[in-house]
Symmetry: C2
Subunit: 209 residues, 2 copies
DNA sequence: ACCTGAACACCGTTCAAGT
DNA sequence: ACCTGAACACCGTTCAAGT
């Protein structure tokens, strides 16, 4: 008589994701996660080999939410812009997950599928392999950098902390403008980047024509 | 009769930095660090209140190596470029430290001094406050994003892993070109950003003149 | 003032035992 | 096949005790 199955990989990943979002990466311990699932710690090892595999699955579930469908249907400039905004929106909704993405796609399927779609879209648009690699890397830097830590929130609220820094007298006010600062910096960078690529693309075509 | 003083904050920070560089953040435990210093774990609490304070001091010692002297002596375009390259070079030499910088300068003096120098330099050059904030944030994204994880090393060496991704067939070769990929993407981005800022600056001057 | 040993409440992971 | 309890070798941190 088989007892009811208590755990699945999906239930574990969902609970871990909720814990990471709510309390951060450090809040995830095997025992804590197991308790959240109404189970004992070692039970999780029937479904994942290590704690790290669980966190990897959480990271991949987040990346799977990024929309990469723009490549193929849109001009490469517009596709890059829409993808970058989608990517950043997803990561900004789950900032605690970003540090886990830092070391690349590794073996995570959603991350590999995203890299494939972006790189393929750039090649199809006519970019050479080396440049397409640079563009993908650069946009990853921009998205990860901006999602990893809010620039605005990186300054403490205590004005006294800044009394010896002549130009930072108003830094403690940054937190109030968090959204416009972080969003503004990202959009400024993305716009300038795509404009720069557009010129690079045009000049390469011009030379080769 | 006072015994010889075994520990100083400096000795602790130096040993912690060496451990972070050699084996990563996870290798730093109080007991391990104490053993490296020939002392028992709890002794460290005579010099730092928490392990996190030790790691904060390590992070600030790294940031202190960044050269911010270009602002004031150079044109803002050149100062930004030289500073960004210095910043990236320092972080690339200590990649394991980068995740600790993600949440901003906080209360770390070297990080605050750097923010002050960059922001002040941009204001002196004539940039409005909001734009100067965006530029500082954007360059932090780029430097942190590129130093945080090598894009090239983010792909595994096993070609079999990529067999189902049509455009990633050669991804396993990326590691061989690590330096040129990561450096190339960073330089591409920095050049395009500064060119874009230059045009933005010129057009703002043109309108106001 | 600074270092130590013992102790607290935790970790990730293994494994024999149960069903 | 999957879950459990006990155990292993660790954690960060506290604190009374030593010098």
């Amino acid at each position: 008589m088989a007892r009811p199955r208590l755990l699945t990989r999906e239930r574990i990943v969902d609970a871990a994701a909720a814990l990471v979002d709510a309390e951060g990466l450090d809040a995830v311990s095997i025992r804590r996660l197991a308790a959240e699932l109404g189970v004992q710690g070692p039970s999780l090892y029937n479904h994942f080999a290590t704690k790290n595999e669980i966190l990897d699955a959480v990271a991949d579930a987040v990346v799977a939410q990024v929309n990469v469908s723009f490549f193929g249907t849109h001009d490469w400039r517009e596709a890059l812009r829409l993808w970058a905004h989608s990517y950043r929106a997803v990561l900004s909704a789950h900032p605690n997950v970003v540090p886990m993405l830092a070391h690349g796609p590794g073996r995570r399927p959603a991350a590999l599928a995203m890299a494939d779609a972006v790189y393929g879209g750039l090649l199809d648009a006519g970019w050479p392999e080396a440049r397409a690699t640079h563009i993908g890397a650069l946009l990853r830097y921009l998205v990860h950098g901006s999602a990893l830590g809010s620039f605005a929130l990186g300054f403490a609220e205590d004005p006294l902390l800044y009394e010896h820094y002549p130009h930072l007298q108003r830094a403690h006010l940054l937190a109030e403008h968090k959204h416009s600062v972080d969003e503004g910096a990202f959009t400024l960078g993305l716009d300038m980047f795509i404009a720069g690529l557009d010129r690079l693309f045009a000049s390469a075509k011009g030379v080769s024509a």
